[in-house]
Symmetry: C2
Subunit: 742 residues, 2 copies
């Protein structure tokens, strides 16, 4: 077997094997560096540089942040599977900044040195000095590049024949050893300012189920990313994910995406033809990364060829595009025709995955190769005919010519016929009932075939590598094309969702939240009859939402947040009409979980999340509170809920949707100028309580918890007794339960 | 390279590769069958047969159950990663019975046929007819065996040389093809009656964190299995896991384990020596499974040898054991000396992982082999000397002898010296600055070496397989040994935990829950100063537990349940003294999670769990309720909590620990004869509230939620306002917040 040199280090964040990565999703490795900020605006503070790289696609991001909690907020968008840090970041800091699932790699402090990093980053991105805003960002980028180089795939990987401890290696191709460690698939650095994007921290990403549905009782639901993913190819899927991860704040950029989506919604024919052709696009971003590392095989290049063949069609379809955004996109679709033609000329149509066993290069591409293959064929034909001619010569009809891996070709004669064996037969192997022979002529032919095959295989491999290097030299153009295709696919996907599910174009940048007939984009798909609900709130309003269990309070609140997220992504939204202000951040305080061994109670976790919201929210934020103060006594919980709400109202001025069973909180509407009540009503019909899902002004009168318990299967005697207890309490005059007694 | 025949189907439940399995844990595949119960006690009902197999260890279980929810309860113990069902089990039934993470495989209905299953099961377990209690069990076992056979590893896997499309395969070993599909590593079927074990369903397993700590805010805690896992080897770890999964109900069996643990607690020297030797035990259960499938390599057999070498030492250490349980265990430790000696005689001390490249068999084991290796060495020595002799002969000092994979041995001469090349040199390859040659003598030697090497490698492989078959024939004895070693390691582990963490031997089968100085086995490790708490309750008592947030209500309740679980495992318990009744099942209703897209609210989930408890609890059950009725209005929640408690008290008679912030529920103690109050007090000191963690009789007076919010970082102005609101409420006479108004 072939010896393989160990030239790769495999870590969770630097995987590139398609089979080990989850489909089209990104897989990020992050690096973090910190500096004392001596002259910046945070005088005396610290500044953090965060770099993120998907080595399988070359997606490379950098940003600067002023605190570990801000790092945690940004990391929440990307969910890196691995984190690289130097000695200046201690374990506590890592735990605060990154999800616990990420593997932590402590890496060489030299790589984090500012000068070393500057030089390394400079070899990749000439303008990095201007792009990056601080030394911390530079150091994070430099270290991440160093780590990516360290873990990258080697060039020996698919070498067919490697000298095994011989005296001299010069007989083999010197191009096998990379001249320098530069990763050629990395051509673009996206330095972004988190302030340009709506902030979605890990808590919000999780509770709005943007990317991962929550598993409840083992059953997986659906995430927002899944329901809007009408992309045709992996490139578009990742682009759309990135848009969802970083919704825009700039209304011009939002409008440009909306224009493109709008044109594609109207022009069904264009949308469908684009989608159909985009379905033939391979993941050329990852493919080019493999080409650049010398790890692409012939099938990869054929896939690249097929993708490039799609581009002229896309350009044709877009030739009549009316709006500027689509016209500009068309201009970015470079067919890279030279590369497409070079691949088509050289690579066989259905090549094998191995590069060193022939069949990779087309007949007619190289004269020497064609000659060697002719010699091989001729020799094999001779052997094929040998069985017949030897049977005739010897008179042994059962004589057979065969081949095995150990002994090569042989002539087999059964024991009863051994007398007929000619003199020049040389015995090679004795079996139970027969003997195997060779002849000098047979061995000579075999040798000839072997030599021709080996030379042809080597030559094919050499020709293939030359071609691959040629393609690698155009990596930048192909990546630019991939980016344009990704944008187009994402826009077509948004248009498809909008057209198929009745989304409308929202006005973003309005002075109020005015949504008519809004729906929850995920829940509406799961339910047969989803009841739409309107929203009409001035920014800065506190809406206290009451209603029975299961009436849809949580769904409604998330629906409003998801409409805002989609709108700032540039998507149309599930509503009949929508006007929305620009939201800088969505906060969520939803659900509960215990942390018993960690020493923090459910309630402590809840209050910590509330404290974070009170500290960080702004007048442009949207805050979802799903019951605050549930984990303590009623009196304490009520006092806290009210104080929190007052603070958000008086001091922060954020827009708040607050779902609660504390019916007392509905009194806030009377006390605070910008507080309003909304509720889900329930009606009794034929003695049965019917929950309605249409939101109404005003406060609810009851929660109907006992009816829900009944529906959940609690024994009838228990339900009856609960009703009896409830009735007795209500009959007790002022005698509502005395909640803080004891 | 070697061609591999596709002879294995890899599925999540039938993995055997150590690298892909999570450490020492079991990996189960389950099969389920159902029958109408025509003559059984459930006349007209249905009976379910559940079979479970860990193909990597051969652990095989079967049991019978009367309902899908009982199947779900049992499956909760084993958490199978794959489930095999026939056409009689529909998707809804699968969803009800198994966790959603499990892969579902619909398998051939013939395999589930009773007659087919009877025959198949009979070939494995002669006494299966008596062991299994119903046709459903038989059919589940038969189908699971069929599936294991279908997915099992083939025998071709590590064949070194395979004929490549030749006319005749008889030149190679016919033993490569298995004569029959029987899986020889399966020798024992454990048929158990769920009624012999404490029932721990999936909800209880999860909320007591028996095996998996819950991840909260990304941080992983510790599971009970981790803190008691002082096992030295994988065998013991799995055994201990199985004990924890199925705590005993039989007090004699419990006492036997306690006796063994007790002796090992007292005899430190014995315990430490056993632990030390057990650390050298390999995972021979899995190893034997690989041997039986013909997938073990030489290193595996060496590992088996090393493990067998440990057994005599274990027997020596136990020779003075006093108690009967340890004496009996010593008798079960069969050294299997014949196998150990056979391996040691044949297999090299540090063999390579490949079987077909030589180095596997010891020198001196086989005469033919030694001769072939001598020929090989001799030829290589000749070639080693060739460079010197040819340099002398030709006068070319830079002449080199080398080797590469494609051309074999060659003599290399640089261009300036080509004139000195003798006539018999034959040109083979032209490089940039030199030429490579061969000579007939060199090629002849090369051929000789090659032939000797190939024959020797083949012979080694043959000898190895003979030995492996010999070992496979003793699989049953080795598995019995593995079981004994596993028991011993688990007992030593329990003794180690008991000795190092001050556990005491509980009396199991007492008529009350009397725990002195009880601790939570996991939390006490994480906290610097853990406050122990006593418990003294008659079975059938309802204990209403109140106290401030974070005082430790949840921890206390789980601690009582974990002490009961450990006691019935046969372990000592974290307490200064304990008397406990036998508990048939632990129920938990703890924590909350939302299921928004699924249309079930948090509260609905909670009530469903409560309904399950009310239906299934018995007077011998222990029920933990951590706040019931939290997800609805206060009035509804209170009425439900009270009605549920009354039902458990009046109708069920279970022992209940009920933690709550509904201070009104403390009134139950006055109304119900078997209800008592317990609380965690808080004291004020220097104006600061101090939470105490020592449980006291009576009810708490307040929950101190606002103080917790303060500690969580909620801004001071908000905390101050909450205090003000609380004070105002309290001042309003009877004016506690009117909870059900609105």
């Amino acid at each position: 077997c072939v010896e393989r040199a160990v030239t790769r280090v495999v870590t969770p964040g630097t995987l590139t094997e398609a089979a080990l990565l989850r489909g089209a999703d990104n897989n990020f490795v992050a690096a973090l560096a910190v500096d004392d900020d001596t002259d910046g605006p945070l005088d005396g503070g610290r500044e953090y540089g965060l770099a993120l790289l998907d080595v399988s696609t070359g997606d490379f991001y950098a940003t600067g942040l002023a605190s570990l909690s801000a790092v945690a907020d940004e990391a929440g968008r990307f969910v890196p599977s691995e984190v690289v840090v130097g000695p200046d970041i201690d374990d506590d800091a890592v735990a605060e900044a990154f999800p616990a699932e990420a593997m932590v790699t402590r890496y060489d402090s030299v790589a984090f040195d500012a000068d070393v990093a500057r030089e390394r980053v400079g070899t990749y991105f000439a303008d990095a000095g201007e792009t990056l805003a601080s030394d911390a960002e530079l150091r994070a980028c430099g270290a991440l590049l160093a780590y990516a180089e360290y873990t990258r795939g080697g060039y020996h990987e698919d070498a067919g024949a490697v000298d095994d401890g011989a005296v001299d290696e010069s007989g083999l191709d010197p191009a096998e050893v990379p001249a320098e460690p530069r990763l050629s698939y990395l051509n673009h650095l996206t330095r972004y300012d988190p302030r340009e994007y709506m902030l979605l921290d890990a808590v919000a990403v999780r509770s709005l189920e943007l990317f991962e549905p929550r598993h409840v009782h083992g059953a997986a639901g659906t995430a927002l990313a899944d329901v809007i993913d009408e992309t045709a190819c992996a490139l578009g899927r990742r682009e759309l994910t990135d848009w969802l991860r970083r919704p825009l704040l700039d209304t011009d950029r939002i409008a440009a995406r909306q224009d493109a989506v709008g044109e594609l919604v109207r022009d069904v024919r264009t949308r469908e033809r684009l989608h159909e052709r985009l379905a033939d696009v391979y993941d050329i971003e990852r493919l080019v990364a493999r080409v650049s590392r010398g790890r692409a095989n012939a099938r990869d290049l054929r896939s690249l060829h097929e993708t490039l063949a799609v581009v002229p069609d896309l350009r044709d379809v877009l030739v009549d595009a009316e709006g500027e955004p689509l016209q500009r996109l068309r201009e970015r679709l470079d067919p890279v025709a030279d590369v497409r033609e070079a691949i088509d000329a050289a690579v066989a149509e259905d090549p094998p995955p191995e590069l060193t066993e022939g069949g990779v290069i087309r007949k007619g591409y190289d004269e020497r190769l064609d000659e060697l293959r002719a010699t091989e064929r001729e020799g094999k034909r001779w052997i094929d005919e040998l069985e017949a001619s030897e049977r005739e010569r010897t008179g042994v009809d059962s004589l057979k010519v065969g081949h095995n891996q150990v002994h090569g070709y042989y002539i087999e004669v059964t024991d009863p016929n051994l007398d007929a064996v000619p003199d020049e037969y040389q015995r090679r192997q004795t079996l139970k009932n027969s003997e195997r022979f060779v002849t000098p002529a047979l061995k000579e032919r075999e040798d000839e075939i072997l030599r021709a095959t080996e030379r042809a295989d080597d030559l094919e491999y050499e020709l293939f590598r030359d071609l691959r290097d040629e393609v690698a030299a155009e990596a930048e153009r192909i990546q630019a094309l991939a980016a344009a295709v990704a944008d187009l696919d994402a826009l077509v996907a948004l248009a498809t969702v909008a057209a198929e599910h009745g989304y409308t174009r929202p006005t973003v940048g309005a002075d109020r939240f005015a949504i008519e007939g809004g729906r929850h984009p995920v829940v509406e798909r799961a339910e047969e009859r989803f009841v739409p609900n309107g929203t009409d709130l001035d920014p800065g309003t506190i809406a206290v939402i009451t209603g029975p269990n299961m009436s849809g309070k949580s769904t409604y609140m998330r629906q409003v947040a998801l409409v805002c997220v989609l709108a700032q992504v540039g998507s149309f939204v599930p509503a009949t009409a929508a006007q929305l202000p620009v939201v800088d951040r969505v906060f969520t305080r939803v659900g509960a979980s215990d942390d018993i061994a960690g020493g923090r109670s459910t309630f402590m976790v809840e209050m910590t999340e509330v404290a974070d919201i009170l500290r960080a929210a702004t007048p442009r934020s949207l805050v979802l509170l799903d019951e605050v103060g549930r984990g303590t006594s009623t009196a304490d919980g009520f006092a806290l809920a009210r104080a929190v709400t007052e603070h958000l109202h008086d001091e922060v001025g954020a827009t708040v949707l607050f779902a609660t069973h504390h019916h007392d909180l509905t009194g806030l509407a009377a006390d605070l100028p910008d507080a309003v009540n909304r509720h889900f009503p329930a009606t009794e019909r034929d003695g049965e309580v019917v929950f309605r899902h249409d939101l109404q002004p005003g406060a609810a009168t009851a929660s109907y918890g006992v009816e829900v318990a009944d529906a959940a299967g609690v024994p009838e005697s228990v339900v009856a007794r609960a009703h009896e207890l409830l009735a007795r309490e209500t009959a007790d005059g002022a005698g509502q339960p005395d909640e803080s007694a004891g």
